[in-house]
């Protein structure tokens, strides 16, 4: 594998998929500079990869059937958790009363479960709890592809998004993902500080026509959430950090979004 030429199909595939050692990748990059036809093939593979991700990533935000969530739970805990066993009955009863918060203990599984209405702040807290704890895949697209991330989420939400820059308050962008909402999907940006603490910003286009911009605070299952509505968009900043610290970050986010003059959704 020392000689750079000739390149095989395997080399091109592995290069396009970023699966080579740095050294080998450098060798191949050098060859590609001299071989436009090969470079075009790599570009084509990468374009296809992006297209496939684009097409298939939208499935990840779909609501999950309750049967699958049950099947994902340990058989033993399924037996022990009486609440869980009683869940279908509970849900049936609760569905008669619109707006009743139900299933308090069932944090993660409520998040994307089909047909479960959740308040925006609660959705933000649950989304944060689920993904901030995910070691491997907290985000769908990482910050090194920030431009693609913002473009993709903007396309999915049908309006121009901005990922706030929180470096001044010590939080760097980790990346983002599309998340399920009650009706429409939302976008989540995740940030991390030097202590590996994570906060996340959930954005969605709001159905209500509320123009109010006041910050509101909620605590959901130990997760602090500041949320506000601005220009028909809902924003929620969630984290397990100090309330005052979170508030000051929320102000930074708010300030940046105000300056960035988002292209207002047309409705």
């Amino acid at each position: 594998m020392n000689s750079a030429l000739p390149l095989t199909d395997d080399d091109l595939n592995a290069f396009a998929d970023n699966r080579l050692t740095d050294e080998r990748a450098r060798q191949i990059a050098a060859v590609l500079e001299r071989e436009p036809a090969l470079a075009a093939r790599v570009a084509e593979i990468r374009r296809l990869n992006a297209q496939l991700r684009d097409a298939l990533d939208s499935w990840l935000a779909e609501p999950l059937p309750r049967t699958l969530i049950t099947a994902a739970k340990a058989p033993r805990s399924r037996r022990r958790a009486g609440v869980f066993r009683a869940w279908p009955a509970l849900a049936a009863a609760a569905s008669l009363v619109v707006g009743v918060a139900i299933g308090w203990q069932l944090r993660g599984e409520m998040l994307q479960e089909a047909g479960t209405p959740v308040t925006f702040q609660r959705q933000a807290a649950l989304t944060h709890a689920l993904y901030a704890a995910d070691a491997n895949r907290p985000v769908e697209i990482w910050a090194n592809e920030e431009e693609r991330l913002v473009r993709w989420l903007s396309k999915r939400l049908s309006f121009q998004l901005h990922a706030p820059n929180l470096n001044t308050v010590g939080f760097a962008l980790v990346g983002g993902r599309l998340v399920a909402g009650n009706e429409k999907p939302g976008a989540m940006f995740m940030y991390e500080n030097a202590d590996k603490q994570r906060i996340s910003l959930l954005v969605r286009k709001d159905a209500e026509r509320s123009r109010e911009t006041a910050f509101r605070y909620a605590q959901e299952d130990g997760v602090s959430v500041f949320y506000w509505i601005d220009d028909a968009c809902g924003y929620a900043l969630s984290g397990n950090i100090d309330k005052q610290q979170l508030l000051s970050i929320a102000r930074v986010v708010y300030g940046q979004l105000a300056v960035s003059e988002p292209v207002a959704p047309k409705n």
């Binding site: 496939l52 699958l68 739970k73 993904y131």
Partner: protein, 175 residues
């Protein structure tokens, strides 16, 4: 050794398992059945999971095997004899596109195209391009040597390239 398979992680893996099941079956309902069977199998085999290893790849491996078994049973039921690796495209491939944006046509097109790939090739392509698994892990998922993975990946991309060239023939410069 009995490691504990963490169920929050399994719940978190659900969207990806569902997606992979759709890629394998080409059918939303059959995909959810496959996820269900995979989870049951994962709990049965939880002793085999090593804490700290890639849970996603482990679950994909189980799903691959469950699917291969079910698929071969179905094929036997259909009185088909051959079980060669390069099985044909999924019969009745129908994956809905949820997007409502203007890119719908393009998404539909790419989904239709991957539906025309043999399952093994489609599997490798999605694991490499979308799940971004390492080739070694893909080889483990499919239980084949890494060279097989590479050649399946190459053939999948080559076929898609040709389909694309055909689909956009009037607009493409012929090399």
């Amino acid at each position: 050794m009995s490691e504990t398979l963490p169920d929050p992680d399994l719940v978190a893996a659900l969207p990806r398992l569902r997606r992979y099941a759709r890629v394998l079956t080409g059918d939303v309902n059959r995909a959810d059945d496959l996820v269900q069977d995979t989870l049951a199998r994962a709990w049965e085999k939880r002793q085999l999971w090593r804490a700290g290893s890639d849970l996603r790849a482990w679950l994909f491996t189980i799903m691959h095997n469950v699917h291969v078994n079910q698929f071969s049973i179905r094929r036997r039921e259909l009185a088909e004899s051959s079980l060669d690796a390069d099985d044909g495209p999924v019969a009745g491939w129908q994956i809905p596109v949820r997007a409502t944006q203007s890119d719908r046509i393009e998404l539909n097109e790419v989904l239709t195209q991957i539906g025309r790939l043999p399952t093994d090739q489609r599997e490798v392509l999605i694991l490499a391009a979308v799940e971004e698994l390492r080739y070694e892990d893909i080889a483990r998922v499919q239980g084949v040597p890494i060279g097989t993975v590479m050649s399946r990946l190459n053939r999948a991309r080559e076929k898609l390239r040709r389909m694309n060239a055909d689909a956009h023939a009037p607009f493409k410069v012929v090399k």
